[in-house]
Symmetry: C2
């Protein structure tokens, strides 16, 4: 294994949680020359036999030879664990990651919401942990295939420190592989910024069965969306961020979303397809953080309560 | 026509909006000896041919001869207009009622929510208008038949005055016909009391597709329900009622509803059957009254916005 301080790839990378996100980033990194090991379930047979196809807005490509595994002990220690696991499966995360960890291993969670880095830090030490926010529209195709529909950039940062050399180098590894990536000083701030989008759109679309365009084209639900975003900003700004989020950020997110064409957030798809929702990472933990700082977030709490009610069907 | 000051029935009564509520109360009044004229659409043929059947928890009965009409001009002026029209059809109300009105006619709205008495008062004079809150579980069966599933009592009062002799007598007419009925001094207070139930349960059940029992058995949605009820109480108590609603009233309503067995509120049924929702009477007008008094009602506003979004499908 190379260490990240070395300027020369390849790094040995393991992808844990190889859904639409993990498969896409893993494929990009492999195409960019990294040594990528995929921990697979659903796609194992298809990828062993036929490799991995990426159908991308930036051009399709196919990786005929992919290192595919059914359990992480076969992979062994790596330089970087790229974690794309859905957070409702986080009870499995520690067991999945454990065999991949050596003294210098970096654990990068690209999962949604809050609480993921904390879980890794508790079990493997805070110094190993980084987090990233993925701005990616992708979904799984037939086994062995992933669709990249839009964006793809990542903002990543240290869990327990500011801007480090390894975070900057890691961002360069992604960028060199065609994934625009920026290292940030304040990971928590980046996570809350993303929550300003995720909290309203994931939940409202999952609850109502409407996509983001339908939601925003209707004045009363546009207003609800904006008010929930403002609650997230208030909660975020009580968390001791390096720099507060501006009220104006809400308007930028709304405008950005108005330009999307009937996008269905992941939680809406999860509900439509009968999967669990990522309620802890996107709602329960942020709500707990808001309450700890005594920020009133009545609309987020209501949305969370009604989403949980729907989980009773499962 | 007798006037209401006469102690001797029968009164000439017209039922406008002969759905589950109008058919049930009209049938009870006719069985009790009043002269009841039904304005009908869906049930006209069935009732002309076979009369009206009531399947009731208190015992079934059948009225073989029923005065049925297709338009209110055929009925002419009456002593009492009993209005059970769904409020989303209120744009038709004035035309339907006009031919029934003479100098002494009483107009009794048993409709849901706010704004109905105001509409009648503007068009026919406030002195003619009474309102009633019906605590009734009923639904329509096949044409010519109505099912009475529970309760049935009415609280009624004057729109523009306190407790009057005619309101008291009218309550006696209902009671004598087997409909427990109480005349109240403060109609507005009674309407808001009913909203403490209607605003949370109608909307939350319509939005989530869960009945009241499912809603209350789940702790997070129980909490949402209670918080919405508290918002209604705050809004009510800013309306200059004769006596404020107690916080404890919320707990009584919750306990009462916990004793219901998977009851589906009317708005939930309306949505499931593809009908419009009574959003103006139960949400928009109460919200406007709350805002006019600067009472914060974020959860009610959110619920209203999300219910309206669903109306876009219709």
């Amino acid at each position: 294994m190379k260490t990240i301080d070395s300027p020369i790839p390849p790094l040995k990378i393991a992808v844990v949680g190889a859904g639409a996100l993990g498969l896409y980033y893993g494929a990009m990194l492999q195409r960019g020359g990294q040594e990528v090991h995929f921990l697979l379930r659903r796609d194992y047979d298809a990828i062993r036999q036929g490799g991995l196809s990426v159908k991308s807005i930036n051009g399709d490509f196919h990786l005929p030879k992919v290192l595919a595994y059914r359990n992480s002990a076969e992979i062994g220690p790596v330089n970087l664990v790229l974690i794309g696991l859905k957070t409702f499966a986080n009870h499995q995360l520690v067991e999945l990651v454990k065999p991949l960890v050596a003294a210098d291993t970096m654990l990068l969670s690209l999962q949604n919401g809050l609480g993921n880095e904390e879980l890794l830090a508790e079990n493997f030490g805070a110094g190993k942990v980084l987090g990233g926010i993925a701005f990616l529209c992708s979904n799984r195709g037939e086994p062995g295939s992933v669709h990249h529909l839009g964006e793809g950039r990542i903002r990543l940062g240290e869990f327990a420190a500011g801007l480090t050399r390894r975070a900057t180098l890691l961002a360069e590894v992604f960028s060199a592989a065609g994934v625009p990536c920026q290292a940030v000083e304040d990971l928590l701030r980046a996570r809350w910024e993303k929550l300003v989008w995720n909290i309203p759109f994931n939940g409202l679309c999952a609850l109502t069965g409407k996509d983001v365009t339908e939601l925003l084209r209707h004045a009363p639900s546009f207003t609800v969306t904006r008010e929930i975003m403002r609650e997230v900003v208030s909660a975020a700004n009580a968390q001791g961020l390096s720099k507060p989020l501006a009220e104006e950020f809400v308007e930028r997110m709304l405008e950005m979303t108005l330009r999307m064409d009937h996008y269905r957030p992941s939680m809406m798809i999860d509900r439509q397809e009968g999967r669990p929702l990522e309620l802890a990472a996107i709602y329960a933990i942020p709500l707990e953080q808001a309450r700890r700082q005594q920020v009133a977030v009545p609309r987020i709490a209501m949305l969370h309560g009604l989403l949980e009610l729907g989980e009773k069907d499962r």
